[in-house]
């Protein structure tokens, strides 16, 4: 089962999210390398050798054009990053007008119920965590809630999680884009057995999904 190695995006939304990681990771690393370089350069270039103190170095303490520049340039960078991130989030959180499958997900200490609207309902046990079966390429609406404390629905290969808060149901869409079985888990600390509150997601073809659905229909 995938989910304990480097994540590989398995939904349409995850591809958008992966690009955000790539952009921010690259930009962040570039900034870090430049600033680390400046710090280490100053330390080693102007390190005092030996015990003698010598004359005082030049006592300058400001430089207005420089200070304006290092305020303005980072400001422009973060504004650009914000515009990008704003669009990416809108893409990921867009809800389809008519989803193909709707699943009511309920989180509770320490397990999950996956109730497909129109059946079936999947109920796991502690020894045998439940599996969420999803059709490839279709739009799946997850309606998430909790019946006791805060939990969070997290599938690392979807690069996405959403909190399950009692009294506050929320919805999001998933468009599975890759066949396979993926690990899911609770991400919000929820008490004694939080660490073991796992589930799995199996993405199958549309026809397999319909076959599975009718076989499990009661």
């Amino acid at each position: 089962m995938h989910g304990q190695m480097w994540p590989s995006p398995a939904t349409a939304q995850a591809s958008v999210l992966a690009n955000d990681w790539l952009l921010f990771g690259t930009a962040g690393l570039a900034v870090a390398v430049i600033v680390w370089g400046l710090i280490l350069f100053s330390v080693f270039r102007w390190r005092r050798k030996g015990q003698t103190e010598g004359p005082l170095p030049p006592q300058f303490d400001s430089n207005n054009p420089l200070e304006i520049a290092w305020t303005a340039i980072p400001l422009l960078i973060v504004l650009a990053l914000f515009v990008y991130t704003y669009r990416a989030e809108a893409d990921v959180e867009r809800l389809a007008p008519k989803p193909d499958v709707i699943v009511d997900v309920n989180a509770y200490q320490w397990n999950w119920t996956f109730a497909y609207q129109g059946g079936p309902t999947v109920q796991g046990s502690f020894a045998d965590p439940p599996q969420l079966v999803l059709p490839l390429g279709e739009t799946v609406r997850i309606v998430l809630t909790s019946s006791d404390v805060d939990h969070a629905f997290w599938v690392p290969d979807f690069l996405f999680k959403r909190d399950a808060i009692p009294g506050h149901p929320t919805s999001f869409d998933l468009n599975p884009s890759k066949l396979g079985t993926y690990l899911g888990r609770c991400a919000e600390f929820c008490g004694f057995d939080h660490a073991l509150m796992d589930f799995s997601v199996r993405v199958v073809s549309s026809s397999d999904f319909n076959r599975w659905r009718s076989a499990h229909h009661t």
């Binding site: 102007w46 390190r47 006592q59 430089n63 305020t71 989030e89 404390v149 009294g167 919000e188 660490a195």
Partner: protein, 544 residues
Amino acid sequence: MSPIAEQAVAPPGRSDLLGWLTSTDHKRIGTLYVITSLGFFLVAGALAVVMRTQLARPNSTLVSPHAFNQLFTLHGTAMIFLVVAPFAVGLANFLIPLQIGAPDMAFPRLNATSYWMFLFGGLTVFLGALTSEGAADSGWTAYAPLSEIKISTGLGQDMWIVGVFLVSVATILTAINFITTTFIYRAPGMTMWRIPIFAWEMVATSLLIFMAFPSLAAALLLLFVDRHLGGHAFDPSYGGNAVLWQHLFWFFGHPEVYVLILPYFGVVSEIIPVFSRKPIFGYTGLVIAAFAIAGLSMGVWAHHMFTTGAVDDPFFSFLSFMIAVPTGVKFFNWIGTMWRGSISLATPMLFCVGFLMNFLLGGVTGVMIASPPIDFHAEDSYFIVAHMHYVLGGGSLFAIFAALFFWWPKMFGVKLDERLGKLCFWLLFVGFNVTFFPMHLLGIEGMPRRVFTYPDVGSFPLLNSLATAGSYVMLAGVVAFAWNVVVSTRKRDPVGPDPWEANSLEWWTSSPPPEHNFDDLPPIRSARPVFDAHHPEIAKGGAG
């Protein structure tokens, strides 16, 4: 007669135990805060080492889930409320009156009250471990409804609420004292634009405390009412609202992050100029940046709630991004201070360089998770654990050690040993990065935080073992520090008023300072009066 001369004729305080217990002297209270927070640091650090030992291997059964949940609850609560914040409070207590040329804090008895409330609040949280169901185990964030009495039935949770409440009230009282002292008690010549950066950062910190901590205190009271007096503020089954807890908590909790870092921005801003033998670069910019950070940090609390689906993510994301700008200004100012300087890598400066290197990574990952699409994956994973420790461990903790090595001679009259100090630095620096860098990768690979165990798959075992090994190296660094304290105290090698050739007024008086602080003061004509007095040929201005 000036207030300083008046103090000079006051009878000396008692130096025995009773003298310390009843003291209202800001230096003694400051020292008590520092020592107490270091005591809590040793305990909270030991808890972390136990957690890392449990997590060294997959499916380990060294500690039970219940015990593990108490361990991380106490570790987080202690590090945040009882170590990083009160160490800054202790340092500020000791330093602010000295730095602005005052004889004491504005409200000395209120000051003593704050310390004792903090101490007993902290002890109350820990004493919960002696109750039948153990200490609180719902995390330092105590999310309701998990912390409600239906689920967290133990007395430990109540003791946590009471203890943290006491600490938060103590912190609010202290903030009032810092603001008043800095504004009212400055010596003649100490204008606002000559106040040392550390004191400025404490003013910004105190304003944040003043705005943020009442929200925490209110949330704790509501939770207590829910648990024992039939309230249902956070219980959705009776019309309460679980999201409300997160709002009240993070309205405190995010400014709190800056309460935990702004004082340490002040610490490195004091130390870097001394060991570069230059004035601080961009004094005005640093002060404005401190208040910009403080102001913005009041409007970013819900970036802890991006994954709730209950907040306007872009608004909080935008303000969180903006904090990168004034923080960047500070970085460039510190580099500008070192630029073309004459840099000595004595232990306090080494820790400052370590602070810059570590905190930078915490800042970069901070900008990443300010982007909701990234946070959707990172939130509540080990990536957050890594980020937050790079800020508060690699940042604040390294500045704590910088401050200890720098101001130790002023507090106790003896220098700490340099060779042991450098050993301590390298053990902590290497240990820290080996512990926390792998956690970024663990988070991306899907390891949630606050788990007592994990399965034997992928690179989980390797990265976790690495993190555990790093934590033992850090432990060795802390032992090296403790050994240094013993050695240096035994050697009894007294230092003069100004062992580092420093800038601000605390270095004018003897080490340690007399009870009344100053016998006389140099003229204060710039932000570094002691430097001016020693270098009249460079000193700025004449009568100005």
